[in-house]
Structures are given as C-alpha cells and as structure tokens.
Amino acid sequence: MSFIVDRRLNGRNKSTINRQRFLRRYRDHIREAVDSAVNQRSIRDMERGERIVIPRKDLSEPQFQHGPGGRRTIVHPGNREFQRGDRIARPQGGDGQGGQASNQGEGLDEFAFQLDPREFLNFLFEGLALPNLVKRQLRGESSYRVVHGGITSEGNPSRINIVRSMRQASMRRRALGAANRRQLKELLAEQAQLLQQEQSPPRQARLAELTEEIARRQRRAERIPFLDTVDLRYNHTVRQPVPVSRAVMFCLMDVSGSMGQNMKELAKRFFLLLYLFLQRNYKQTDVVFIRHHTSAKEVDEEEFFYSRETGGTIVSSALKLTSEIIRERYPEHEWNIYAAQASDGDNWNDDSPTCVRILREELLPKMQYFAYVEIMPRRHQALWESYSLLQQQHPNAFALQQIDGPGDIYPVFRELFRQRMEAPAS
C-alpha cells in the first residue's frame, strides 16, 4: 500500500535557517569578500549577488582519519596490464588512493558559493544605522500591529473560537431544555410510583397517558440542536497603530567648477550608496536632493545624479535652502532630520563662517546628525577647518570624513553610519 503525497507546495526553503547559520558563521570571510567587491563594482551594480570563496580548510569538520604512511592494501577495478608481483613507481604525491582528488575538479581547495542580492546587501549594510533616530510618532495611515480584540458573534469561519462556541452551545442547550427536563423528571417519578402500586383501570389509563407524555417530552429534548448558528463565537482582531519614526535625509552635493569630473563621480557614488541604504533599511524615509554651485536648487533623483550643470561655489546657499525646506515641510518635532554633504571644501573665503553660523544656529539644533564628506585627495580646504571646530562642539551630531579615492567611499560610509551604542535598534 502506498500513499502519494504532493509536497511541492509546502516547505520550500527548509534549509533557509541552516543557510543563515552558515553565513553567520563565516561572516568574517564574507565581509571581506563583500568589502572588496564593493570597491571593484560600479555603484549602479550594487543590487546583484556576489560569488564568495572560502578556503576549504576553514570550513572543515574534522574527523579522526588515517594519514599517509604505514602499510595498506587497496583494491581497484579496471586492471589492464598489471600482473601479480609487479612493482610500480609511487604516483606523485604518494597518495595510493589515486584519482580521489581529480573528481571534484578545481573546487577542491576552495569552497565557493553565490550570495543572492538580498544577502549581499544585508552584508553590505550590516551594522549600519541612522544615528539618534529617537523621535517617534503615532501616524494614522501606515503602521499597524494586529492585536487580539476579544470575542464577537460574527466573523470569518477561519477565526472561529471553538471553546467559546461550544460553551455557548452548552449553555443554550441547558437553558432551553430546563423546563422540559424538570417536567420529564416529575413524570418519570409519577410513573415509577404508579408502577409500584396495585394496578386498576384508572391507574392504567393514567400510566398510558404518562408513557405517551414521557415519549413526547423525550422527543422534544432531542430536538434541541447540539450546535446552532447563534452559538458561534469568533476571535476578533483589531488593528492598532504603532508609533513610527519618520526621517528625512538631505543630500547636499557640490557641483561647482572646482570639483573635477572625477570628484563629482566620487560624490555621486557616495550618495548612491547612501540612497540605497536608506531605501533598503528605512521604509519611512524621505530623501531631499539639493545640488549647488553659487546657488542651490532642490532637484529630483534623476537630475541629482545625472545633470551636468555647473558654476562657482557658495556652500551656504545649500544650507540656507535646507533650512527653508525644513521650516516649510519638515517640522522638527515630527521628523528625524539628517543631512549628508559632499564637497571639495573649496568655498568663498567669507562664506565658510556663514556656513558655520547657519549650521550652528539653524540646522544642528533641529537635526539628528550631519555628515560632511570632503572629497579632496590633497590637503584640507577652508571649509574643513571651520567644520572641525563645529565637530568638537557637537561630537554626537556632527561628523566629518575625507575621501581620497574610490576605495575610501565604502569605509567612510561605514564609519559615518556605523551603529552607535546609544542608537536604538531599528
């Protein structure tokens, strides 16, 4: 006797947990591979898997085994020319087992496998978080938690509460049958009493009457349904809004003439990484793109990354625009506000103090975090000096880093957004 079961629909990805355990265990190896992959790839290409290679010896599960040496005899198939007593030179490596190794081809010393894009990005952004993401707020439309909301008498059959329904049915059966049962009991008692006494025609008539009445009442008792639709009870659920933290990220990019093509490219790569990170890890995040030369302009994603417009440099124009946008659209008690600025630090001399003033007086008090990236392979520029002072005054809310070349982007990015101890887990 055989049973044939179709299992195709259930239990896919049974090994997922084991795979995750495997990835977790070799996190360091994978981290390394991911880090080096990021620097080699063009940034548009981030959302793709990666081939990870781990030296096989690091993965081994050791067992007691025989090593080479000693005396042993092995039986092989497919003899052609050997005769008993022949002596043959030992094959190279001295391994009597012969072809054991060749079967697996190249993959013998290394263990290679493919990270899928999701896993790749997980590793890429692992341990990163927006700092100081503390302002939370109840918002009606988007985030809910489904909670138990008591018992109702109407609902979806899949949510039926069996215990409560049965209890209800039992109560109804008792209530409806009570009078009938009491009378039945009396009749039975009378019948029993009559049967004890001497028989006479009136008593027999009464007995017949009783028998009929008892049968009628018993039938009535049986007619009470075991379970009725009015008994059914359902689990009720309600959707409860949960507070969410909303965040906005301002991306400020310098596109002035002093930034060479190369430097602009680096800035864009930095922002792309940031954008990818936000999109992936923070669903409720707005991103505002601002580009500036002598004047600042809010642009959309497309224009931010691809437009070629250029000019002189006044950094404060971007900060002013940021401040205005915050005032208009992002009240600071509702929003966690972030900004990342990339520039070569080349600014009008008397503009840097203005920048510092705007930051100190208008922006930083409202902001959670401001990250400044100077894209300058050589010495620091004027803006860096002014910002350094600011950084000392606001060590938690202000950070600055320098990028020399493509290889720095990812490390700098990690440094700026590494999860800090005080930052709540998101």
């Binding site: 044939i4 079961v5 090994s15 008993r84 072809g99």
Partner: protein
C-alpha cells in the same frame, strides 16, 4: 509467452493518477511475483529545491538546525547547478511508512525507476536486513527526530544559538565514535523520551558528581581502597557515550545534546555498513521489476530505453586510471554481485559449483533474500564475491607500504588471486579497519581529571595529525580538562598528542 497488455502510458508526462497506477503495478510484481516484504510507502512529490534540502539534511526528514547542513546545501546546490549531479534516486528514509521522494521535473520513466528502486528495493532492505532490524526502529525514528529538533531549539532559546552550535560542532567531530557496536539500543516514543530526558537530567547530574567527589570525608572508604584502579576498567569504544555519562562539567542540557548526536550516529550506523548491499539490492530490484513490467507489455520501448540509460549511468564503474575514478562504485559492485548470485543459482558453471556448493542451483529468490537479510558489506563480500565478478570488474590489489619506495601489485583477477582480492576487498568495507581504532583508555578520576584516548595502530598506519588535533580540541571542549591521545603500536606508545599542548606540563 505471457500475454502482452496495453502500456500504462506512452508519453514521458506523469500525473498523480499515473503514478498511482505504476506504483500499483510495481507493487503487484514486487509482492506477488517476487515476494518482497516491504513497509508501506509514503511517496512524496517534491521540487528540485526541496530535493536539495533533503540531500543537505543527510536524509533526515526533520532535522535540527546546524550550519553544517547549510554548507551541505550550498555544496549540493553548486554541484547541481554545474550539472555534475542528477537528483534522482537516493533519498529514501528508513521509517515506517518508508518515505521516498520523487522530483517533479522527472519523466514518467524516471519516476517509475525511483519507485522501484526506493519504495521496493531500499524499503525491503530496511525491513529485512538484520542490522536495521536490530539497530534501528523504523516506527520510532520520526518521533525521535521531532523530539531532538524541538529539544535543540529549546536549548537555543535558553542558552543561545552559539553555545548550542559549538556543542553540536564538538559532538559532530566525534560522531563516528558515538556508536555501540554490540549493545542493542531500545527505541522509545517521543513522549517517553521527553519524560525520560527529565529523569535523566536529574539522575545523571547526581551520578556524575558522585564520581568526581574528591573530598575524602565525603567518600570515607576511598583511602583504604587500592588506588591504582583504572577508570574505566575496560577501554570504551563509544566516546560520546563515555562523555555523556562521565564528563565532569557538562550541564544537563549539554549531556542531552551529546546523547542526541549519539542517537543519530547509531541510527546511521547500519547504513554506513551496508552501502554496497543496500544500493546493490535496490538496483537489482529496479532492474528486475521494470524488466518484468516490460515483459508484461505494461511499458513501451521508449520507457525502457530511458530506464536503461539511467541505469547504466548509475552502475558505471570507471577504471582506476580514469579521471572520474573515485573508488569503487557501491551501486556497480552491489548490482554485479546480486546479479551474479542469481546467475549462480540459475545457471551455475563448474567453477561456481566448486566455489559456492551451497547456493549453486538453489532457488535464487530464497538465496538472494537470505543474502540480503543476514550480512553486512564486509561479510557479504567475504561470502559471495565470486571469481566471475572479480574477473568482470578486473579487480586488483595494490600494496602501499611506506618502507618501500614502490607500490606492489599483491593480487589480480586470476586463479591465484581470487581469495586474496576477496579478503582484501572485504576488509576495505570493514569500518573497524577503515576507520582508526580509537578508544577511551583512562579518565584520571583521582588526579588531574585528564582524559586519555588510545589509538591502536593497525599496520603502522598513523592518524592524520592536524585533523586529529582539531578533533581533540573539540573533545577538550566537551571534557574541559586536559585530553591526551596516545598512538599505540606493538603495545608501545609511539606518539602522544595533548590538548592543551604540553608546554607547561612536566609530568607526562
């Protein structure tokens, strides 16, 4: 001449109705024509991805979670993607009912082949072979696996995934030494297992502390006893059992994990000892059953071509100098031997009568069943490997002695060599020779609590030292006091390996 009937189907498409009909026909032939005795079957149709899952969990339908299964999965996936491996036969679980998997991508012919191979071949082997009968309990295994999975998940919750993982790593390293070779284990249901587990936890902890009680006033008679008594009195072959019962510092839950791994090892032990027989038997029966199906006209020529093509791939034995050579293919050897036994029964030659006077000319079905039931690989080869098979496979034995700079051909497939080849091949399948012989020699109960293992060298063969050191590190993690491994040759200790390394140790 049998009357030929309508084929069951003529295309390579399958559906559930067809599976049912093929299974019924194959079952009819297996049970009525050939009297195979099987457990009921549970045939599960799954996708290729699920098949890889099944491969990765080393044939346990419900396994606990561990990274090594994830690694296995990745490896299987890689090989499958590269096309090095077909996922077709193989997975069948020794349980009652016997669980076998069919992959949805396969054609009808392949499905029928797998049904014949797994559901009637392997299945009857599991039910009939003495090793499986005494060592595993088909009806209890699924229950036990469920218990183990739940227990380990609980431990992970309570003690952290990493702790449990490390524990499992260490146990896995010693898994091959977690087997009782002679004592029969008694299987129990999941419920009793859970109850017993609690009792064990309490009782065991008490016993262990009893053993390690070293304060003289708590064991007043200790000073009067002769102190040189060795513990354990006899060397113990089951390392994991010894650890479970005697490791000084393990928590109760850790002991239970040791026990679970030990049980798994025990469950798989018969399979490791009957690879050739098990695969040979199953291959013999898919071949025989499907041929019978063909003779009755129930399947088409095209069906049979496909079956034979796959069959000949499976039982192909590359010669020793082929780039594909990877040792002796158990399917090839097993299939050849069972076919040969049938031949000896049905059409014995003078040579067969000389070599196998008992079975030559006997009823082949009875002889084959007897062979399947009463042997393991080692004894099966010793008993039934005939000169004809040795000649067909051109088997020869190579002696590799490290004191000699040449390899020597010890025996080949000729009159003078048959017995030697048979003897040597049989030894090759003897787990107690092919695996290093390592036993618990002494636990220093009254001294520094160190544990000493002994490796008895056979034919001067040493251990792979680096690996051995890794395993010893795992042992150290379980024992938590110094562990030593002594290699003994001709009664003398020739090599000693200690964890932690004996830099500070002067007494050894």
């Amino acid at each position: 001449m049998k009357q030929r009937r309508q084929p069951l189907s003529t295309t390579s498409e399958w559906n559930f109705e067809l599976l049912q009909r093929y299974d019924e026909e194959i079952a009819r032939i297996a049970h009525d024509v050939f009297q195979l005795d099987t457990y009921p079957n549970q045939i599960e149709v799954i996708s290729s991805e699920q098949m890889m899952d099944a491969y990765a969990s080393v044939g346990m339908p419900v396994g606990y979670h561990h990274w090594s299964f994830g690694k296995q999965f990745v490896e299987v996936e890689n090989r499958y993607r590269r096309g090095q491996m077909g996922l077709a036969y193989e997975i069948v679980i020794n349980a009652n009912p016997c669980i076998a998997y069919l992959m949805e991508e396969n054609t009808m012919a392949m499905q029928a082949l797998v049904i014949a191979h797994a559901c009637y071949g392997h299945n009857s082997f599991f039910k009939g072979n003495y090793l499986f009968q005494t060592w595993t309990d088909a009806s209890a295994i699924i229950d036990y696996l469920v218990f183990a999975r739940r227990y380990i998940a609980q431990c992970e919750e309570r003690h952290g995934v990493e702790h449990v993982e490390r524990m499992l790593d260490s146990c896995h390293a010693l898994m091959n030494y977690g087997v009782d070779r002679y004592k029969r284990p008694y299987p129990v249901s999941a419920e009793t297992e859970r109850l017993r587990q609690q009792e064990r936890e309490d009782a065991l902890q008490q016993q262990v502390s009893e053993l390690w009680k070293t304060f003289p006033e708590m064991q007043p008679d200790i000073r009067r006893r002769v102190p040189i008594e060795r513990y354990p009195a006899e060397p113990q072959e089951n390392l994991l059992y010894f650890i479970e019962k005697n490791a000084p510092l393990l928590e109760p839950w850790q002991r239970e994990i040791v026990r679970i791994v030990r049980k798994m090892a025990q469950y798989f032990y018969p399979q490791r000892q009957t690879k050739v027989m098990n695969e040979g038997w199953a291959s013999f029966w898919h071949y025989t059953l499907l041929h019978e199906l063909y003779n009755e006209g129930l399947v088409t020529d095209g069906f049979m071509f496909e079956v034979l093509q796959s069959h000949s791939q499976v039982i192909y034995q590359p010669p020793f100098d082929s780039p594909f050579y990877n040792g002796i293919n158990p399917y090839a050897l097993g299939f050849a031997m069972f076919r040969d036994i049938r031949r000896i029964c049905e059409a014995p030659t003078a040579e067969d009568r000389h070599w196998f006077p008992d079975i030559a000319g006997s009823n082949w079905r009875e002889t084959l069943t007897f062979a399947m039931q009463s042997f393991k690989d080692e004894s099966f080869i010793q008993q039934f490997l005939s000169p004809a098979v040795i000649r067909d496979m051109k088997l020869f034995a190579v002696l590799d002695d490290d004191t000699d700079d040449h390899l020597a051909i010890d025996a080949i497939h000729d009159e003078a060599g048959y017995r030697a080849v048979r003897q040597l091949l049989s030894e090759q399948y003897n787990l107690s020779i092919s695996e290093p012989n390592i036993q618990v020699y002494q636990a220093d109960v009254r001294g520094d609590r160190s544990l000493t293992l002994q490796h008895i060298r056979h034919d001067r063969r040493p251990l792979a030292r680096d690996q051995a050191a890794d395993v010893m590190r795992h042992l150290y993690r379980l024992w938590q006091f110094d562990v030593h491994l002594e290699s003994v040759q001709d009664g003398r200790v020739v090599e000693r390996l200690s964890i932690p390394p004996p830099a500070a140790e002067g007494s050894a």
